[in-house]
């Protein structure tokens, strides 16, 4: 009986000791993770800008505006690698601990595009940085310049870029690529699209507003550490349509302005020589300054034709650009692979893509929504 009790107690003890041991080892605990910090010493870095100066990496870290409208801070550090520059940044400033876990945006200067893969490698390995961080390329100029230009007493580049992300999600048009997206695209297809940004003269007039604002300018096509080119406005929309990304655009068609509410793209091909791209768009009238009646079928079909022509231009523009660069950034290949995977495996897609003929068909449907003229007449009668 006593022996049994001892055995049972021993089993309990082993179990009790095993739990913490298992948790610690299976959770990948390391010494680095077990270091404690006091939060009051932190400087939350929200934007990291990477540039190349004389063969060295220059890191510019920007904090956002503080809770009580404390002005944001900018820190600089140099290093032979990004990790070294980050370490130097941490060491240089003894007042606060530079804390990178809250980094939301990484901006790469146009001259430092060849560092892209290194940046992504650092993001993937770091315990602080996450793959969900948004990544941008500055159109022409250094990232540091952009950070400095956008620094105001009550706003910073971090806040502006956060607004850009929020706006893209709110209006349902455009896409901000993250480090994870770029990394997976480079690994899978050898190219990636990255949002291009540039400073623009600010129109804000309130006190403390910065002189410059930030604007997005389409996507940069990056392959093998080089920027092959950038998409213009039309091609950018085409890329969004073909990649099945949010694309709620407003298009003016004479007296009527319509908003595309839903867009669907189907890509198919039997011989991979002629590729059929079928786009179906749903739109609604949001402004009518000419008293156009959508009940008139002829007027409606004319509007639909005009909308289709606009969309056709956008799609064609992006397809031509992608053929010009020799990079399938419109994701035609992956769509065809999904459609007929066995056939797709047997062909040299790159060769087919460069010589492919695109048969684009657009079907636009403008829904009859609120007929303002009728309502006005009704109101007149009542009076």
């Amino acid at each position: 009986m006593k022996k049994q009790k001892i055995t049972q107690a021993a089993k309990h003890m082993i179990f009790i000791l095993l739990i913490p041991a298992l948790l610690i080892f299976s959770a990948g605990c390391s010494r680095q993770q077990m270091v404690t910090y006091e939060v009051e010493n932190f400087e939350l870095i929200r934007t990291v800008a990477v540039d190349k100066v004389d063969g060295q990496i220059k890191l510019t870290a920007s904090t956002g505006v503080g809770l009580e409208d404390e002005p944001g801070k900018i820190y600089y550090a140099f290093g032979s690698s990004i990790a070294e520059a980050m370490e130097n940044l941490r060491r240089s400033y003894t007042i606060g601990e530079a804390f990178f876990a809250y980094t939301e945006h990484i901006v790469i200067g146009s001259e430092a595009v060849d560092c892209l893969e290194t940046v992504l490698d650092v993001v993937a390995r770091s315990i602080d940085l996450r793959l969900g961080i948004n990544i941008y390329i500055v159109q022409s100029g250094t990232a540091e310049e952009l950070v400095t230009l956008c620094q105001g007493s009550e706003t910073t580049l971090s806040d502006m870029l956060t607004s850009v992300v929020r706006e893209v999600s709110r209006i349902g048009r455009g896409y901000i690529y993250t480090c994870g997206d770029v990394m997976s695209s480079l690994a899978k297809y050898g190219y990636a699209l990255i949002t291009v940004i540039a400073p623009s003269q600010s129109e804000e007039v309130w006190e403390g507003a910065p002189e410059y604002d930030v604007q997005t300018l389409g996507f940069a096509v990056v392959s093998e550490g080089k920027i092959l080119g950038c998409t213009d406005e039309g091609a950018t929309t085409g890329v969004l349509i073909l990649n099945d990304l949010p694309c709620m655009q407003t298009i003016a068609l004479g007296d009527v302005t319509v908003q595309v509410t839903d867009i669907d793209c189907k890509i198919s091909s039997d011989d991979f020589q002629t590729i059929n791209v079928a786009v179906t768009a749903q739109a609604g009238v949001i402004e009518d300054s000419g008293g156009v009646s959508l009940t008139d079928e002829q007027v409606r079909s004319e509007l639909e034709r005009a909308l289709g022509t606009k969309l056709l231009q956008q799609v064609r523009c992006s397809l031509l650009l992608s053929q010009q660069y020799g990079v399938d950034f419109c994701a035609i290949g992956p769509a065809l692979e999904k459609h007929s995977p066995t056939k797709f495996r047997d062909i040299d897609w790159q060769e087919h893509f460069e010589n492919a003929v695109f048969n684009i068909s657009i079907r636009a449907n403008i829904q009859r929504t609120y007929d303002v003229s009728d309502t006005l007449e009704l109101k007149g009668d009542n009076r």
């Binding site: 309990h12 009051e40 939350l44 809250y102």
Partner: protein
């Protein structure tokens, strides 16, 4: 030379001999003189020598003043035994004793005693003894004083839609309350006596054709094995009959409400009432029972279900929130949203203490306030709580001794703890809350989760009278778990919970 200084003895427990309790400590022949000797130095002991009618000899009436009602002794005992009409026909003392025992006196109970130990035992229970010295016998009458606390409203388990009565210190009143709530002829009260000196009466309460008799036997066995001086508090029972008395979590359900006591009896549990304690105990008890409110049945089942879920959420918050805050603030800062992190940084800027010291001291201050509020009289207690909250909360923040976030975290954990229906469980959670904070200080979430696993393991290894403490979470199945977390409508609860092993599981058609 007499010295009150205790001797320093090594291995004290070994050197002090063990004497088993003596059921008959007095050996003298039963007589008024012998009883008087036993109660020497007792100012409340009273005796009165009386002559029986027609000069049939002398008897002595003894009682403890205060325990018995003087007027009842005079009216129901002294007057009849001195009356010629009632005892005139008694030829000798033996015959007189028989007449008294068989209705010559008016007491509603009359016991003939020939052993001095029985007489002494009766006297200290509020009986009056009529001792016949010549024949060494006595008749004892129950003439207990009716002075007792009134049946008040429950203070610990507030009732809104339920009955408002509450157990008091008198066992008989408590059994009466149970009988009134549950007038079932199969309701049984099995009586036992414990306490070497107090000789406290405890009553095991069960429903004969429903309760698992093994439970009753087990409870009786455990109570019989209790060897203590006196039963003066609930701990004197709980700590002796609990399966794991070293565990801080309560293992006996304690209630001051007769309606809750009866509801649990109807679930197949065994009850325990103790003379002198204004509460009833119920066994077996599982964690789920401690999370239930007596009011749950009174509410609509949707309301009751949401409140039950809220309680489970509250116990988690109360147990883990300070530890999670410490872990996040010290080790896993990347987990918080940016704005919240900025708020925490801003609030901690001027505080000179590290997070660990800050939160441990605030928790300690909170406990001090709670203790002070509990120990002081109601009016003063409330004032202390308000002033304490102001001082410890607002002033500490103003003086930059503590950050507002820490005050909020500690206050939230404390308030969440108040929603736990059982005070014993709440106390256990308070202890473990400190343990979790210390674990978080040591290494963030990993020690916290390790400790949490250990706690779950510990709770799952507990049992109460053979029933899993964590039933149905440990082995009950999905349906039973849902029944524990949510309150099904009363009309759909056809069967009793299986954990009590009730012999009659069906509750309704």
């Amino acid at each position: 030379v007499f010295s009150i200084k205790p001797q320093k003895v090594k291995k004290d427990r070994v050197n002090v001999p063990f004497h088993p309790p003596d059921p008959e400590p007095f050996t003298a022949k039963l007589s008024a003189r012998a009883v008087e000797d036993i109660f020497a130095d007792c100012y409340d002991f009273q005796k009165r020598e009386l002559k029986l009618a027609l000069n049939r000899g002398e008897v002595t009436v003894c009682f403890i003043d205060g325990l018995v009602s003087g007027s009842e002794v005079a009216e129901q005992v002294i007057r009849p035994i001195t009356s010629r009409e009632r005892l005139g026909c008694a030829k000798n003392q033996r015959r007189a004793l028989e007449l008294i025992a068989r209705g010559g006196a008016y007491g509603h109970t009359a016991n003939v005693r020939e052993n001095i130990n029985d007489v002494v035992s009766d006297l200290i229970r509020g009986y009056c003894a009529v001792i016949f010295d010549d024949i060494a016998a006595a008749v004892t009458f129950e003439v207990r004083t009716q002075e007792k606390r009134s049946i008040d409203e429950p203070k610990e388990e507030k009732s809104i839609k339920g009955s408002k009565d509450v157990f008091i210190e008198m066992l008989k009143t408590n059994t009466m309350l149970v009988r009134r709530h549950l007038p079932d002829p199969f309701l049984k009260f099995r009586s036992l006596t414990i306490g070497r000196r107090s000789k406290t009466t405890v009553t095991i309460v069960y429903i004969a054709n429903m309760t698992n008799m093994l439970l009753v036997e087990e409870l009786e066995k455990r109570i019989s094995s209790i060897d203590i001086q006196a039963v003066t508090s609930a701990g004197d029972i709980e700590q002796y009959i609990a399966d794991r008395p070293r565990c801080a979590f309560p293992q006996l359900l304690r209630t001051e409400r007769p309606d809750r006591f009866c509801t649990n009896l109807l679930e197949g549990r065994v009850g325990l009432l103790v003379d002198g304690l204004p509460m009833g105990f119920l066994a077996p008890a599982s964690f789920v029972q401690f999370m239930k409110m007596p009011e749950d049945n009174a509410y609509h089942f949707i309301t009751a279900s949401i409140l039950t879920l809220l309680r489970y959420f509250a116990i988690t918050v109360s147990l883990l929130l300070p530890a999670v805050y410490v872990a996040v603030a010290m080790y896993h800062q990347e987990m918080l949203p940016t704005r919240l992190m900025q708020t925490i940084i801003a609030s901690k800027q001027a505080v000179p203490f590290p997070t660990a010291v800050e939160i441990l001291s605030m928790l300690a201050a909170f406990e001090l306030l709670q203790e002070a509020g509990l120990r002081l009289p109601d009016t003063v207690g409330k004032t202390v709580s308000i002033i304490g909250a102001l001082i410890v909360g607002q002033s500490a923040v103003d003086a930059k001794v503590a950050s507002p976030v820490v005050v909020i975290v500690v206050a939230l954990a404390g308030i969440a703890g108040y929603t736990i229906p059982n005070q014993d469980l709440s106390a256990a959670v308070r202890i473990w809350r400190f343990a979790f904070v210390i674990a978080a200080v040591c290494g963030g979430f990993f020690p916290v989760m390790s400790l949490f696993c250990l706690l779950i393991y510990r709770l799952c290894s507990l049992d109460s009278f053979g029933v899993d403490y964590m039933y149905p979470f440990s082995q009950g199945g999905a349906v039973m778990i849902l029944r524990a977390l949510l309150k099904p409508p009363l009309y759909s609860e056809k069967l009793r919970w299986p954990d009590t092993g009730s012999v009659d599981r069906r509750k309704q058609r």
